[in-house]
Structure formats: structure tokens, C-alpha cells
């Protein structure tokens, strides 16, 4: 899929201000072409749904997705969280409870060890699939650091890509 990334990069639209902050020089942040109805859409034909949809809202949604289906292309910890972990652990990191539960990441004492979350991401845990095949060492480090310092968390220590690489070998 490498060649696909190259094509995406070549065709990517200029990044908006919102994600220029997180964009890295070498890997483009996702930026799908969007095609929202413009202001001059015939209002009689436009449904409530359409008229309630701003271009920014559509952009936010389509840019949630990676450019490469085999490997996440986001590089920022928060963006990575929002495109993967958030499915279960939710936007606020509080998890959820149904017939079983998704454990909260907010205030989760298991994360005192900086290696715990890296190991879980690399190998998966119970019903949670592994993400080691979809994120590289730097991405695993970024998202782990994000989780350990967000949702009210302030666990000490920083995970480096080298830490992740070493854990992959185990």
C-alpha cells in the first residue's frame, strides 16, 4: 500500500489551520476531498440534515479516517486516540458499561507503569484487538503518552518510540 500513500500525499489538499497544528512535514494528516452542499443549495430540496451540516463538521468526520487502510496515518496522539481507542474508551476516556465493560482510561491506576498501555496496545487484551500491526513505534508512543496525560491523568514518565521497539521484541 506504500504507493497509495504517495498518491495521497501528492493529491492532498492544503491542510486547514485546524490540523496544520498537528501535521508533520513528512506524513500528511488525512485530508479527503469533500463535497458538501454549498450555501446556494436550493433550500427547498435541502433536507434538515443537510442544512444542519457545516463544511467544518463534514471535514471533521471525513478526516477522522486514515489515508492508508493498512496503517494509521495520523501521527498526533490525540488524533490517533480519536480514530481508534475512542470507539470503546469514549471521547472522555471514561469507557462504558453494558453486558461487559470497556475500562475507563481516566484515572486508571494500571497505567502507573508506562509500559502497561504499550503492552496492551501491542498485543491486545481480552476482547480488545491489538494495534501493533496498525501503528508504528512512534504512533504507539504518541497515543500512549496522550492517554497517560489526558482525561485528568498525569502519570509520570514519557514513552519513547525506542521503548515501544524494545517491547515489540519481547
Amino acid at each position: 500500500m506504500r504507493h497509495v500513500i504517495a498518491i495521497w500525499a501528492a493529491l492532498a489538499l492544503p491542510a486547514t489551520a485546524a490540523h496544520a497544528q498537528t501535521a508533520q512535514a513528512d506524513v500528511p494528516e488525512p485530508d479527503y476531498t469533500i463535497n458538501v452542499p454549498s450555501e446556494d443549495v436550493d433550500t427547498e430540496e435541502a433536507t434538515a440534515y443537510q442544512s444542519g451540516t457545516s463544511e467544518d463538521a463534514v471535514r471533521e468526520v471525513v478526516n477522522r479516517f486514515s489515508r492508508d487502510p493498512d496503517q494509521f496515518t495520523q501521527t498526533d496522539g490525540k488524533a490517533l486516540y480519536q480514530t481508534s481507542c475512542q470507539a470503546c474508551h469514549m471521547e472522555d476516556g471514561k469507557g462504558a458499561i453494558g453486558a461487559g465493560e470497556y475500562p475507563p482510561l481516566a484515572g486508571n491506576a494500571k497505567m502507573v507503569s508506562k509500559y502497561y498501555i504499550v503492552a496492551v496496545l501491542l498485543t491486545g487484551y481480552h476482547g480488545m484487538p491489538r494495534f501493533g500491526d496498525q501503528m508504528d513505534d512512534a504512533q504507539i508512543a504518541e497515543v500512549s503518552n496522550y492517554v497517560r496525560t489526558s482525561f485528568g491523568n498525569d502519570f509520570p514518565g514519557t514513552i519513547t518510540p525506542e521503548d515501544v521497539r524494545d517491547l515489540r521484541k519481547d
Partner: protein, 530 residues
């Protein structure tokens, strides 16, 4: 108990480690416990002795298959179900339905003309057990169009993002590769592999197979029009003269990757003819539920399974009332609770079994359905049924295999994938709110069907990791996991046996759930009658 020789399981695990799951499976076959996986005839059970009682956890298709058959064989059966409905993942969302997801958001459905099957949605002909139960339970079936040559293959980075017809791509790939093969034969490149007689036969066959001309070229001709279609169709009276379409060039077609999207159509599990229940896949779940309704206790959340020498006790909570807890004691327990949930419960089984239960991740999957004011895919593009594939995150658009060419609204399955395909879009779709999923389906889909925004009425969706009673879609086995845990997971542990799609070699399919249930009850019944 001392073991001086390896158990069959240890032996198989060794074979699995050394030679892979296929070799292990072959070894299992030769050792006599994987002799056949086909459904050939209705299950025959010895029957219950003296009112033997079985408690079944989960009123999905596996649980209700077991309930239905065990009751017929004279067992006393009770089913505990977490939800207020039966059928499990064999489920259809219709207009007026709604449910609360994990995370607290409400999924609604305002459809007037169709439905969404969030889980299973089509039946391949070799899923014999499903068809037999449909016959038995009176579920009406109709054809499901899997492959429609008029539907599209779309790569946003090829042909300026213009979708191509499946039939064009397939005919052209076949034509161009036939021409290439014919050239190779004529240039003597296959002289070592093929005798002269073979070569003549091959050339003769390629002419028809690839629609080549007398010089073995794949070019525009009336003959090709008869296979690939017409720019101007043959008409009547004084209508214009017919004109064949022309092939796409080979190079760009190869590089478009579109022909690789034909893969699913050539898969045995998706080969024509496929079928679906009239009114949605939920009709199968409903039929099982109606057939066993008096055995089911709904809104019961199991939290603990204990067992002794000859009894098993299930502890559960009433989800409706004041959360009061109850116990159900039985001779046997068939547990079909998804492993994603079961791994979190207190279950009294061997350590090896606990490990197996905890080992299987649950696959990510999503679906979005959209209702439109009119069936523009039929009226504008002549796509009636079938599936278009795209490289965009919606992955595929499936057109309804019912209600063809009717006036008024129609419902399209506008986005769907599972992590079996390995694309991270499944995770990302599960992170979106119900409204955002609809927006994503509309936005990406309108690159294939520009009518989307104009014709849109409403949408609904299912993000399987947000479903409170499964926490994911299905057991995501790998060869390594199967070698290490599959047999342990399926073994009877004291008074407990597991069943469900996760206890089968056909994960995520109804057939897997049913075969697993039948196999589990046969083994329990054999113990009962030993």
C-alpha cells in the same frame, strides 16, 4: 492424574505449533474428531434421562438452536437473555426502531421503505443448516444479488475518480489477459509447459473465453458488444444502428487496482446464488425466538457461573426491576455469551479454558444504511441489487435486493466492512457518533453517486463496538490463536460447554453459530446417554 503420554490436545497443539493450523486440522480429521463439518441431516439426540435440565445463556441463534433441539429431545430448558429481544446479532433495524449505544447515544431509524441488517445479511448456498432451519421455521427466502455487472468498482485515485462498471472491468481483464496468453503461446513462451496439441486447444478456448478476434486480439467488435455491452443498444424499427463499447486500455486498468476488487465475487462464501429472508435477516432470529419464546427469560444479565460435580448454577441480575439477583441451577449449561463479555464474568472453568475465553479479540465492524427519496441507482444507473466496491472508507454500497423498480423511497446499505479485511476504517467508523456515521456515508458515497445529497431522507447505523450486549462484532481468530485455544474453548468443562459463532470455523456467519450449537448439544447428549 499423571499423564505419561501427551493428551490428544497436547499432541495437536504441538502439531499446530510446528506445522500450522491446517496441518493440525488435518491431524484432527485423521484422529476422528473433525471428520465432517457439513450439515447433512437434522440432529438426532438420545434424549434426556429423568428430566435433565439445561440452562442456556444467550438467546441468539446458537442458544436458540440448542434450546429448540434440546426441548424436542425431552430436556428441560431455560434460556437467559441479556436483551429484551431474541435473535442476537441475527437482527434487522426497521423504521421506528431505536437503541442506546455504549457511550449513551441513541441510534434511531425513520425508514419507510426498507431496513438495515446490522449483522448477517446474506446466505451462501452451502450453509445448509441455516436453510434447513428456515424451512423448518417457515422463514420465507428470496434471492440476494451479490454480483451485479452493472454495479461499480471505484478507486478515487484512478480514472479521475469515475466509477467503472463491474462487468466492464471483468470482461476487459479477461480479454486482455487472454490476448496476452495467446501471444505467449504463439511466441513459443509456453513450449516447455504445453504440447502443441495443448497449445491449439488453449488458443481455441481463449478466443471464446476472452472474446478475441481471429488474430487473437481483444478489440472493439460487434462480437465484443455482445459480451461487454453497447454504446448504442440494438433497438427496434428505425432506431439508431447498434454500436459496441470499447475495451479500457490494459495498462491503466492494471494500475487502477479495480480488478482486484473482483476478489470477493470469486470467493466460495459469496458465490451465486445467495439468499436472504424476505423482510430482513432478523426474520430468522424472530422465527427462532417465536419457536422457543416460552423458554426465554429476557432482561437477565448473567454475572457468575458456578459448577460442582453434577450441577451448574448461574447467577443473574434482573435488568428491569430493582436489579434483584437470581440463581438458576441445572445439570448442564450451554453458554453462548460472546467471549468479549464472558472474559469479564466470574466463570468456574479450568485455567486453560479461562485463557482461551480471554484470548480471542472481538472484531470491529460497522454498517450505515441511508434512505433516499427515489431509487436513483435503478432509475439513473440501472443498478438493481448487487454491491459496488470503493477504496473510500465506506468500502462498499449494497443496493436492496427487494422492491426493485418501485416508485418512492428506497434504502441502500451505504457503508460496511469488518476487520477481517484488515482495514483501519472499521475502527474509525466506530469512533463516530451516529450522526457522524451518516455524514461519512453521505460524503464518501456522493463521490460514487452524486445524487446522494439531493435525494437523502434519513439514515441509521450500527457500530459493533458500541453495541452493549456484544462489545464487538465476532470472534477474530487467527491461525495461531486457533492452534493454541480453539479445542480447549470447545471442550466440555465439567457441566459447561460453550457455543456460538466464536466456537466455529465460520466466525460471524449464522451457519457457524448453528453448527457449533448442534455439535455442543450432540456432545452433551452423548454424555447424558453414556
Amino acid at each position: 492424574m499423571t499423564q505419561i503420554t501427551p493428551t490428544r490436545r497436547q499432541l495437536l497443539t504441538m502439531i499446530g505449533h510446528a506445522a500450522g493450523a491446517t496441518a493440525m486440522y488435518q491431524a484432527m480429521t485423521s484422529m476422528g474428531f473433525a471428520a465432517t463439518s457439513d450439515y447433512t441431516a437434522p440432529v438426532e439426540l438420545g434424549g434426556a434421562k429423568n428430566g435433565t435440565k439445561v440452562v442456556i445463556l444467550g438467546a441468539g441463534v446458537a442458544g436458540l438452536t440448542a434450546a429448540y433441539e434440546l426441548r424436542n429431545a425431552g430436556y428441560q430448558v431455560k434460556v437467559l437473555e441479556y436483551q429484551d429481544r431474541g435473535g442476537g446479532r441475527c437482527w434487522t433495524i426497521n423504521g421506528g426502531d431505536s437503541f442506546t449505544e455504549l457511550g449513551g447515544e441513541e441510534v434511531t431509524c425513520d425508514f419507510t421503505s426498507g431496513y438495515l441488517n446490522p449483522g448477517p445479511w446474506r446466505l451462501p448456498i452451502h450453509h445448509y443448516a441455516v436453510f434447513d432451519y428456515c424451512r423448518k421455521l417457515g422463514v420465507e427466502l428470496e434471492p440476494f444479488i451479490m454480483k451485479n455487472n452493472k454495479a461499480f468498482l471505484h478507486n478515487s485515485q484512478a480514472y479521475d475518480g469515475k466509477p467503472q462498471r463491474i462487468g466492464d472491468v471483468e470482461t476487459d481483464i479477461r480479454g486482455h489477459t487472454s490476448e496476452l496468453l495467446a501471444k505467449s503461446v504463439q511466441q513459443g513462451a509456453l513450449d516447455e509447459q504445453l504440447s502443441l496439441e495443448d497449445q491449439e486447444k488453449l488458443l481455441e478456448g481463449l478466443k471464446g473465453w476472452g472474446v478475441l478476434d481471429k488474430d487473437y486480439r481483444y478489440v472493439t467488435s460487434d462480437a465484443l458488444g455482445g459480451h461487454r455491452g453497447w454504446e448504442v443498444l440494438p433497438g427496434g424499427g428505425l432506431m439508431p444502428e447498434k454500436k459496441p463499447t470499447s475495451p479500457m486500455e490494459f495498462g491503466p486498468l492494471l494500475h487502477s487496482d479495480l480488478w482486484q476488487m473482483l476478489y470477493t465475487f470469486n470467493d466460495y462464501g459469496h458465490a451465486p446464488a445467495m439468499f436472504q429472508p424476505v423482510g430482513g435477516m432478523g426474520k430468522i432470529g424472530d422465527a427462532f425466538t417465536e419457536a422457543t419464546r416460552d423458554l426465554i427469560r429476557f432482561n437477565s444479565r448473567v454475572f457468575k457461573i458456578e459448577q460442582g460435580e453434577d450441577q451448574v448454577t448461574v447467577h443473574y441480575e434482573d435488568r428491569e426491576g430493582s436489579g434483584e439477583t437470581y440463581q438458576e441451577t441445572a445439570d448442564w449449561c450451554i453458554c453462548t455469551i460472546p467471549l468479549s463479555v464472558l472474559a469479564q464474568l466470574e466463570v468456574d472453568v479450568s485455567d486453560a479454558k479461562k485463557k482461551a475465553i480471554a484470548a480471542v479479540p472481538y472484531a470491529s465492524a460497522f454498517k450505515v444504511a441511508l434512505e433516499f427519496k427515489r431509487r436513483f441507482w435503478e432509475q439513473d444507473e440501472w443498478i438493481a441489487g448487487g454491491i459496488s466496491y470503493t477504496d473510500l472508507p465506506i468500502v462498499q454500497i449494497a443496493y436492496p435486493s427487494y422492491g426493485y423498480f418501485s416508485d418512492g423511497p428506497g434504502v441502500v446499505q451505504a457503508a460496511y466492512d469488518t476487520y477481517t479485511a484488515g482495514k483501519n476504517y472499521t475502527y474509525s467508523f466506530n469512533t463516530l457518533s451516529p450522526e457522524q456515521r451518516i455524514e461519512a456515508a453521505l460524503e464518501f458515497g456522493s463521490q460514487i453517486h452524486p445524487q446522494y445529497r439531493e435525494e437523502f431522507l434519513s439514515g441509521t447505523s450500527c457500530a459493533w463496538h458500541r453495541v452493549p450486549w456484544t462489545l464487538g462484532c465476532y470472534g477474530q481468530w487467527t491461525e495461531e490463536l486457533r492452534a493454541a485455544h480453539y479445542e480447549t474453548l470447545n471442550e466440555i468443562d465439567g457441566r459447561i460447554v460453550l457455543a456460538g459463532e466464536h466456537c466455529s470455523h465460520i466466525p460471524a456467519w449464522l451457519e457457524g453459530a448453528i453448527l457449533s450449537a448442534l455439535d455442543a448439544i450432540k456432545r452433551l447428549d452423548a454424555r447424558e446417554n453414556a
